[in-house]
């Protein structure tokens, strides 16, 4: 095996990830080539020591986590308290405003504009007025006949006076 090929497989050789044939070949090469052996030793030294020193079990770690959880809950509650008030106030304002608008609209509907009254509505109202007048004996025609009668009486009185 050539040096170049050994260099390309060195890291896998160190980690023991090569086939037994390839491992054997590299081993033989390293036994014979000083330069490659030096490179192997350096690389193995660095690669194997690259692992961080393990941090052992921490007996008070749960207390830390528990405390932080409590702090988070307290924070959430204070946020809820602070923003809850604001949200409640806004909701009340919104409801009052909504009710005001609703009442206003309802009142406004009681006085329709001239444009909003349809022809059917006008005729139905006229019918109602006529029916009302009929029931109360204030028929327009009747009022007219009374008037004409009075005028005729006045005229006859005037004629009588002039004849005299």
């Amino acid at each position: 095996m050539k040096c170049n090929k050994v260099h390309k497989n060195l890291i896998f050789y160190i980690d023991g990830e090569l086939s037994s044939d390839k491992t054997e070949e590299i081993y033989t090469h390293l036994m014979q080539c000083n330069e490659c052996r030096k490179l192997y030793e350096q690389m193995a030294g660095i690669w194997n020591s690259a692992k961080e020193e393990r941090i052992p079990y921490q007996p008070f770690f749960y207390t830390r986590v528990e405390q932080e959880l409590k702090n988070n809950k307290a924070k959430e509650q204070s946020i809820l308290k602070r923003y809850g008030k604001v949200i409640l106030q806004s909701a009340i304002y919104f409801i009052v405003l909504g009710m005001g608008i609703f009442i206003g609209v309802q009142l406004g509907q009681g006085v329709p504009s001239q444009q909003q009254i349809s022809d059917n509505e006008i005729s139905s109202r006229q019918e109602f007025i006529e029916a009302y007048a009929d029931s109360n004996y204030i028929n327009g025609m009747q009022l007219e006949s009374l008037e004409t009668e009075m005028i005729a009486q006045e005229e006859s009185n005037e004629k009588g006076q002039s004849n005299e």
Binding site: A50, I55, Y57, F61, E66, E68
Partner: protein, 190 residues
């Protein structure tokens, strides 16, 4: 208690079960986080966030995967987010220093040069390797970190990353080749 029993009890708000969940998995989660951020205190803080997230979203855990895989997934995401935020902060603070023309920059450079002089070659190489790992594409970095530093099997990594086992193998293979190339280049330059 089995993992299934723990999960069901935590879902019902049992705090004792949650304590068991934390105690059983804390070492694994702290070390996964440390594998990414390489700082003990930061790793502990992130691990704490992982368990809080797990507690708050346990109802979403459908028990299709292992509890440990689910926790690993949260830990990986939290760690990557932490690294991203830290990079952003560092970038902004270095920009601030640059614009302020603060003497801290020159001090820092002097300090670094002193360290370089004092440090051993091996330490430099280790630091360079870590830097190279950090520079890997995100998926390769996650797969390699879980495999090399956490010693998770390909199957477990596939479950955590929600990818196939063969894809996991490809990612790790590529990551190792890239790191090997960089290491050889550095050794030859020495």
């Amino acid at each position: 208690m089995t993992d299934t029993q723990i999960v069901r009890k935590v879902k019902n708000g049992n705090e004792e079960a949650f304590k068991e969940l934390v105690d059983k998995n804390q070492e694994m989660i702290i070390n996964v986080c440390n594998g990414f951020v390489r700082d003990r205190e930061d790793a502990m803080d992130i691990a704490q966030e992982v368990f809080i997230k797990a507690y708050n979203s346990i109802h979403k855990f459908q028990e299709k995967s292992k509890l440990s895989s689910w926790l690993y997934r949260i830990a990986v995401n939290k760690s990557l987010n932490f690294i991203r935020d830290k990079k952003r902060k560092n970038m902004l603070s270095s920009l601030d220093l640059l614009f302020e023309n603060s003497p801290e920059i020159s001090d820092k450079i002097e300090d670094d040069s002193e360290n370089t002089e004092e440090s051993f070659e091996n330490e430099e190489m280790k630091a360079a390797l870590k830097k190279s790992v950090d520079a890997l594409p995100k998926k390769q970095k996650v797969a390699l970190t879980l495999n090399k530093f956490e010693e998770l099997s390909y199957k477990e990594i596939a479950e955590v990353m929600d990818i196939s086992v063969s894809e996991t193998g490809v990612l790790i293979n590529r990551a190792k080749k890239q790191l090997q190339k960089k290491m050889i280049k550095q050794f030859k330059n020495q």
